[in-house]
């Protein structure tokens, strides 16, 4: 019964990575001799340094901002009986349902061409689009996780004299901590892989090869260099896999499964 799922797990996860590692050995434009030196050669690409700075900028500025905003809104939604709660959640979600292509156009027209064509603003601009389109789904998920807390736990907190703020900080946040960790990790890896926003802004000629994923894309499609593309993609995956493993080992889902 589980076989089709396992097949997709292998087809979409394990096999492409394994194949990608083998692909790196092939001689290519970036490393004519072939071999695993390709990993080092792509790191020496002059575009990688600036792209790393761009990606780290999004991770340092926008990831914490998104996490704090999502948690604040979810906790506020959960803190009070609100008429129109469902409508409000829909309003928060809608920006996440708008296709990235439309969101980019919206932001271009909001800030005006002067801002978009200014080099110094482009990181803030891309970060804002990622923020605008990124928080909606997480608000829905974190609200869902807050609603999953058993009412008796919260009632016990109220009997102990917790006010709403204390309930949120001392009870609700610790109880949903694993979902907060899940969100933060996915926000970090999504920033690491950022592609859509800079790629849709390519008409400004300032976001060509802006992110690491775009460079991997360029290797494959502009230089027909699959080895270089695979090498860079696999290197971006390494921190991702490390974070995922840390998450699994530091949460108790596997333990719960064993107990059950």
């Amino acid at each position: 019964m589980i076989l089709p799922y396992v097949c997709f797990m292998f087809f979409c996860g394990i096999i492409p990575i394994a194949y990608g590692i083998l692909e790196v050995r092939n001689p290519s434009w970036v490393n004519m001799d072939g071999g695993y030196e390709t990993f080092l050669k792509v790191l020496q690409d002059f575009r990688v340094g600036p792209a790393l700075i761009n990606v780290f900028f999004i991770i340092i500025i926008f990831v914490p901002l998104m996490a704090i905003t999502v948690l604040s809104i979810s906790l506020l939604l959960d803190a009070t009986e609100l008429r129109g709660n469902a409508l409000m959640r829909l309003l928060f979600l809608i920006p996440a349902l708008i296709p990235t292509g439309v969101a980019v156009l919206f932001w271009v027209s909001v800030v005006g061409p002067d801002v978009v064509w200014d080099h110094s603003n482009i990181r803030w601009f891309i970060g804002s689009i990622a923020f605008s389109t990124g928080i909606g789904s997480w608000i829905v998920i974190q609200y869902g996780s807050l609603r999953s807390i058993p009412p008796e736990v919260l009632e016990a907190g109220i009997i102990d004299g917790c006010n709403r703020f204390q309930l949120a900080i001392r009870l609700k946040l610790p109880m949903i901590s694993r979902y907060v960790a899940y969100m933060v990790i996915l926000l970090i890896v999504s920033a690491l892989q950022i592609f859509n926003e800079p790629n849709l802004l390519m008409f400004t000629n300032m976001t060509t090869d802006w992110s690491l994923s775009q460079i991997a894309f360029s290797y494959a499609f502009k230089a027909a260099d699959f080895a270089g593309s695979s090498a860079l993609s696999i290197m971006i995956l390494i921190p991702n896999i490390i974070l995922a493993l840390l998450f699994v080992f530091f949460t108790d889902f596997i333990k719960k499964s064993k107990n059950s």
């Binding site: 589980i2 997709f8 506020l76 899940y182 995922a244 499964s257």
Partner: protein
């Protein structure tokens, strides 16, 4: 949770929330305002009506990948939560790890693989590459861990039910709300997916709406934007009660 008392903090919370909801609604309001000025003609007649090809491709791609992903991950969640299959912990472990690797991260390795098996530039290649949805399997695992007690499964076994019989008679009838929520998250991911179709469907005549939208910059993007928004909103409305009840209920108990 029901608040103990209504006080001025409640009003403050409500005002803050409505203000933030207004701020986040600005893109949507802009879409509505702009859509009034838009006409269908440039979209319909562009490149001999290629819009309809994209619409058809999107329907085939989203419909097929959604069906495959929901079926496989609901079943997988049931198996991991209820049945004693070999490598059960390994499967759960792999699901949790891959749940944290966005499909976009796999775009280039998948492209190389799909290219080698000659499915590049085909909808089949895109459907196969997009049908793995570990978050849905994880939600299903939590759901079935919570709603199907071991005693009930034991009674089913006494009645002579096989693994598939338990799934058919106990798992599927309980899956309505689970399917609605998994369908919603899977649909939104597929419907708005950009990077994977961008990489796997280079030929414009085989493209999908989320990519095709680029050519309409300034002459109809907003109209397509609203059209693309409607199915996601309807699906959300269908599944939001389940979300409001708590999507991770199973994990918080015990």
């Amino acid at each position: 949770m029901k608040p103990v008392k209504q006080d001025r903090n409640s009003s403050l919370i409500k005002i803050t929330l409505w203000f933030m909801a207004f701020l986040t609604s600005i893109p949507f309001l802009w879409l509505i305002k702009d859509a009034g000025r838009m006409i269908f003609a440039p979209i319909i007649y562009y490149d001999n009506g290629i819009f309809f090809v994209w619409l058809k491709n999107t329907s085939i791609f989203v419909g097929s990948a959604l069906l495959i992903s929901v079926l496989t991950c609901v079943t997988a969640g049931f198996v991991m939560a209820v049945l004693n299959v070999p490598f059960r912990r390994f499967l759960l472990f792999s699901t949790l790890v891959t749940m944290l690797i966005p499909i976009t991260a796999m775009a280039m390795p998948l492209y190389v693989l799909i290219d080698r098996i000659h499915l590049n530039n085909t909808l089949l290649g895109l459907i196969l590459a997009s049908s793995y949805f570990p978050f849905g399997a994880f939600l299903s695992y939590l759901y079935y861990s919570s709603v199907l007690p071991q005693e009930l499964i034991g009674m089913g076994r006494i009645d002579g039910l096989t693994d598939f019989g338990i799934y058919r008679h106990l798992g599927i009838p309980l899956s309505k709300s689970l399917i609605s929520i998994v369908t919603f998250f899977s649909f939104v991911g597929l419907w708005n997916s950009y990077q994977l179709p961008r990489v796997l469907l280079i030929d414009p005549s085989r493209s999908v709406m989320s990519i095709g939208i680029e050519v309409f910059y300034g002459q109809g993007t907003t109209l397509i934007g609203i059209m693309m928004l409607i199915p996601s909103v309807l699906l959300y409305l269908a599944s939001q009660k389940t979300i409001a009840r708590g999507i991770f209920s199973g994990a918080m108990k015990g």
